[in-house]
């Protein structure tokens, strides 16, 4: 390989490594829970029931408390796609309907990963969504809830 060609090849490789290794791929989100909640993992059906009010209590007896990211956030878009396969408008309308029926407590709004983590830490049954990078260094009292798709 000629010297200029080799240089280009190395540069291209470095660029790829920087971008691939330096940040999470788009759409990497996880659920976080209070560490006292012993539900360490849950499937799509269970998490959909949690976020639409059909499941009111975790198996350990803690009352489900949902934290929702604001409309338009990447977290809520991910949540809607993963749980109902639809846009956030559909999921949010469904949640609002359940609140209106009286079957679900109005979710708390968590505007950032830090707010989500703080919400979950103070609420024994709390659950919300954060990006995967934020979940790499969770404080004591907060743990990941593994999502089995």
């Amino acid at each position: 390989m000629s010297q200029p060609g080799a240089k280009i090849g190395i540069a291209a490789t470095l660029v790829l490594v920087l971008f691939a290794g330096g940040r999470a791929s788009a759409g990497d989100f996880v659920f976080v829970r209070n560490a006292a909640n012993d539900t360490a993992q849950a499937g799509k059906d269970e998490m959909r029931d949690v976020f639409t009010g059909k499941k009111g209590t975790w198996k350990g007896g803690q009352k489900v408390e949902v934290g929702l990211s604001p409309s338009g956030s990447a977290e809520i878009k991910w949540l809607a796609q993963e749980l109902v396969g639809a846009s956030e408008d559909i999921l949010l309308a469904k949640i609002k309907q359940e609140v209106f029926k009286g079957d679900m407590k109005k979710p708390a709004t968590v505007g950032s990963a830090a707010e989500c983590i703080a919400f979950v830490k103070k609420s024994a049954g709390g659950v919300c969504v954060v990006d995967a990078d934020s979940a790499k260094s969770l404080p004591d009292g907060v743990a990941v809830l593994k999502f089995n798709k």
């Binding site: 059906d45 009111g56 007896g61 408008d89 949010l92 309907q97 609140v99 209106f100 009286g102």
Partner: protein, 358 residues
Amino acid sequence: MKRLILISACCAAAALSFGRRAVAQEFSVGTYGAIEYNATRTVQRADSSATTTNGFNLASLDLFLRGSMGNWSFLSEVLFDVDRGNDISIDLDRFQLSYEVGDWLKITGGRFHTSLGYYNTAYPQGGAVYLLPMDRPELVDQHDNRSILPASTVGLNFHGKLPFAQQRFSYDLDVANGRGVQSDDLANGGDINNQKMFNLRLRYEINGLIMGVNGLIDWIPPRNNMDPATDQLNTLREQILGAHIAYVEHPWHLIAEGYHIQHVGPDQTQRTLAGLTELGYTVGQVTPYARYEFARFPSPPDVFWLTTFQQSRGNYNAVSTGIKIVANENFAVKIELEWNRSDLNTEYRAGTQVAFGF
């Protein structure tokens, strides 16, 4: 001795106060409503004469309050809507206090939607934004209190998921004041005949498919208006058996319900059959839908409904179809056509509705 009891009580109260963990409380206010435009052509079956009307309508405005603290919660729903007399009426559609013991038991007291079928509890009166069609079906339509079923009641509801079979079975038991002397006479302030209504709904749910049955029994007090044409001088026993199936999981919307309603008096048993089917499929933000509903009333007319609107048009079949466009999580627009044929007349309606919820 009395002093000792008093001191003990004070200590106990203090211990409870200091020992109680702080519990977050939540209070929220919501508002829901809809505005419509309808054009209706009504053709009388007797002589084929026709009338056409069109107009804008303030369908409803709903003020919704909700609060919760720990296992306690409260909600109320004040509804403003327009009745047949063109007056804006105000109704306390729901007023509920609840305590949640666990998934297996939630106790609710107050005024609530009777646990009948799927539609009546899934789509409260003021939430047009969550409905597919513009209105609730006549089975449970509370405008002018013309619902065929006892859509609202005052009393206690016990609800829960049974602790076996992965909690797929659920129940609702209503113990309530029941019907008043006529269908628009809701027993908000006491039970006229001291006889309670009992209603049991059992459901099985799997992968979003809900199947359920209902059994309701109530005693309707006599009605003596000194008018032989409409008086009902004996207590009637109301017996309602129903079944429903629903699958409302994106993108599908399927609901089917059927009821057998009996009013049993000393000299007669009058039966009404009624039901509905509703189907929709969502593509993006748009859901085309269709609904069929029907009622078959007894002849001679049911004595309980002589003073209200349920049987005023006789037996009917109605088909409505349209599209619902979800503009965003708070607004929806609907365009709908309805064909409604009864013993008395046939109504052809075209309507559009803008509904909202915050």
